[in-house]
């Protein structure tokens, strides 16, 4: 099956600033894909090129196995980072308007809008003006707007930014539901925990380059289980031990990374001599560590 999104060596520069440079990635159908990177890494520029808001200077964008053309956009739902609605329009009118721009009939757009509003618990507000709604509710309306035409590919730029915990959970549930229904989801974020929980595959971008791309599990596995989390009483004196590459004390527990080739059992034996160990666990690195490691390497 063809990749839903494929970028082949795309480049975009504004004046002398290169926003995206020779970036390639492929997104398989039916998964959740995370576009990761620090602020200003080129995530939004990349997304804008995927949906034809800007054109790459070089390289090729392919959607659903075809070279990009605007006709494909009706199969894509997009939630931009810069979000907005017409303030003085009524909620339902607004949703119907956006639905119609995606080729829905007025009736169909109305029916789906009402169903979605119910699902998102904003039914009581459909006849209010947008400006009367709280920010969180306006965001929900925008999620609905992006999903109204039942797109096969959902692209969301920083969807969790500014959401309170309850709404974050609601959004996450919707995304999982979409994934189960076989949709492909791409979202960008700089929050690793969300990616770790939701994504099947990732692309890590920094300074316009993809520095890590592919299946999340494989990426993690390639780093090997060289991380140790432990809880103890006393002082195991591991900070300057020559088996340990880095040491991070979180208060209730410590997390440390072993030097390449170091033996975890040897570390445990050393620790036991000095402290009472209540937990010793060998882990894959967290995405945050991979991120910091990779960004550090490329800096």
């Amino acid at each position: 099956m063809a990749d839903v999104v494929e970028l082949r060596g795309i480049r975009k520069s504004y004046d002398h600033f290169v926003a995206v440079d020779n970036l390639s990635l492929a997104i398989r159908a039916g998964g959740v894909y995370g576009l990761l990177g620090p602020n200003g890494a080129g995530k939004t520029s990349t997304i804008r090129m995927m949906i034809g808001i800007t054109m790459p200077d070089e390289g090729e964008v392919r959607l659903f196995g075809e070279p990009f053309h605007r006709g494909l956009l009706h199969r894509v739902g997009y939630l931009p980072e810069e979000r907005g609605l017409y303030k003085r329009m009524k909620v339902l009118d607004h949703l119907v308007f956006l639905g119609r721009l995606h080729n829905l009939s007025e009736q169909e757009a109305r029916k789906r809008s009402l169903a979605w509003c119910e699902r998102m618990q904003i039914s009581d507000w459909t006849h209010k003006k947008v400006e009367e709604l709280s920010k969180g509710m306006q965001q929900k309306i925008q999620f609905v707007a992006a999903l109204l035409h039942d797109p096969e590919l959902v692209i969301m730029d920083e969807p969790f930014a500014g959401l309170d915990p309850a709404n974050s959970v609601m959004l996450k549930d919707v995304l999982i539901e979409l994934k189960r229904a076989g949709k492909t989801i791409l979202f960008s974020t700089h929050r690793m925990d969300q990616v770790e929980r939701l994504c099947d595959a990732i692309c890590l971008i920094d300074h316009g380059h993809a520095i890590l791309e592919g299946d999340l599990k494989k990426i993690k596995a390639s780093y090997g289980k060289n991380h140790v989390q432990m809880q103890y009483e006393g002082d195991p004196r591991l900070e300057n031990c020559d088996l340990v590459e880095s040491f991070n004390n979180y208060g209730n527990y410590v997390e440390l990374r072993l030097k390449p080739g170091a033996d975890a059992q040897q570390l445990l034996r050393m620790a036991v001599d000095h402290a009472r160990i209540s937990r010793f666990e060998l882990l894959e690195p967290s995405l945050e560590e991979i991120f910091i490691d990779q960004v550090g390497k490329h800096a």
Partner: protein, 425 residues
């Protein structure tokens, strides 16, 4: 096309349903009607009444003659345009021309016992300067009547002193009325005054609507930038469609407004025109004039609104937009200033060149068409130039728009703008 239609619909319905549109559309005719009816009503209330005037003259016969002239029926000329009855003059002759008498009369005027007094002494006549003292200094119409009466009476008396009979003098002094008639296709059409007033009204309407709705396009672009809705829209429509939908939708709102006003004007002017007929003659706008108005409204609107859309996409706030909108207004304001010169010499080469300049054309060519009917080739040339300009401006505006709407932050400098135009390609 489907998208453009949806965009037009939204733009149109949201605006027409808004309270400000309804209020402005209804208030404007009320305001116009008020500005015509209220002064007319005041005039009517004043004119029917009595005018008590004292004429101070050493020669009572002269005073009587002035009295007679004032009371004589006057021929209707184009200038004595007046609804309502002429005033009834009550004249009192006073031969006492002392300073004390003058003070006493001043008091009477202040008290409102008399409307005014006329200082028509022999001394005054010898100096060719007669004074009328009144509280109602602004009543030009009355002072005109008085001036005519004095002039006629004095001239008549001088003629009689030279040995002319009263009847001969009367015949000599009968005024000539000048009626201006405009020739249209070899036939006599409406009077010059009518054409002027019609042209003026139509041009003002055009000016008002083009500016209001051009600026409205600009503001709505700025609003879309500020509310950040553009990116959502751009994921399903192109910048060109967005621009077209906006300009056409707002234009349709403008047309609706004009239509409402025209309906009001027709309803209101049926009684109004009947009374206005007396001084304007038959008011009729030739169908060619109406067609020209429609064409130049559309072209003028497209021209200015695409320019305003481009400005809107370059700026970030309403405040910046207001600063930038002035340069765009200058040509149309200039055109209004030049209008008078073009009306006076509509066939001069200068008028021709000015009127085919696309930014002036909506005003100046329209004026020429209403006033003189320039040769058809000139009209055709003008329309062709305008269409080409509109096309060019739209292409330019949509490029600036395409880039500008995604740019937030600082306003672009000219070299940056040139680069934008390159990106958009």
């Amino acid at each position: 096309m489907h998208n453009v239609w949806t965009l037009i619909q939204r733009e149109y319905l949201e605006r027409v349903r808004s309270r400000s549109f309804v209020i402005f559309t209804l208030l404007m005719p009320a305001f116009m009607a008020g500005s015509v009816l209220i002064p007319a009503k005041i005039e009517e209330m004043n004119s029917g009444g009595e005018r008590r005037i004292v004429i101070v003259a050493n020669n009572p016969q002269l005073a009587m003659a002035v009295d007679q002239e004032l009371k004589a029926p006057k021929p209707k000329s184009t200038l004595s345009a007046e609804a309502g009855a002429p005033p009834v003059y009550v004249i009192q002759v006073d031969t006492n021309s002392t300073d004390a008498e003058r003070d006493r009369l001043d008091e009477q005027v202040s008290d409102g016992r008399i409307n005014g007094f006329l200082w028509l002494t022999d001394d005054a006549l010898a100096n060719h300067e007669v004074t009328y003292s009144t509280k109602e200094a602004a009543d030009f119409h009355q002072s005109g009547e008085l001036r005519n009466a004095i002039r006629t009476a004095v001239t008549k008396r001088r003629l009689e002193q030279k040995g002319m009979s009263g009847a001969e003098a009367d015949a000599l002094l009968t005024p000539i009325v000048l009626n201006t008639v405009r020739i249209e296709k070899g036939k006599e059409g409406s009077s010059g005054t009518t054409v002027f007033l019609t042209a003026f009204a139509m041009v003002m309407l055009l000016y008002l609507v083009v500016l209001i709705y051009g600026v409205s396009v600009m503001r709505s672009v700025v609003e879309e930038k500020n509310t950040r809705i553009l990116e959502v829209l751009l994921s399903s429509v192109t910048a060109k469609e967005l621009l077209a939908g906006k300009i056409l939708g707002v234009g349709a709102v403008g047309l609706t407004q004009i239509l409402v006003w025209v309906i009001f004007a027709t309803l209101f002017s049926v009684p109004g025109l009947l009374s206005a007929k007396s001084f304007l003659g038959e008011v009729h706008i030739p169908p060619a004039g109406m067609a020209a108005f429609a064409i130049f409204f559309l072209l003028g609107y497209l021209l200015y609104s695409s320019m305003y859309a481009a400005i809107g996409s370059m700026v970030n706030t309403d405040h910046e937009a207001q600063q930038m909108q002035w340069p765009a207004m200058i040509p149309i304001i200039l055109a209004v200033f030049l209008m008078n010169a073009v009306i006076q010499h509509p066939n001069s080469p200068l008028a021709f060149w000015l009127s085919i300049f696309p930014f002036f054309a909506p005003i100046l060519m329209l004026v020429r068409i209403l006033v003189v009917q320039p040769p058809l080739w000139q009209i055709a040339l003008c329309i062709a130039i305008m269409v080409a300009t509109v096309y060019g401006l739209l292409a330019l505006a949509s490029r600036i728009y395409r880039i500008g709407i995604l740019m937030y932050g600082k306003r672009p400098t000219l070299p940056e703008l040139r680069r934008w135009l390159r990106y958009a390609g």
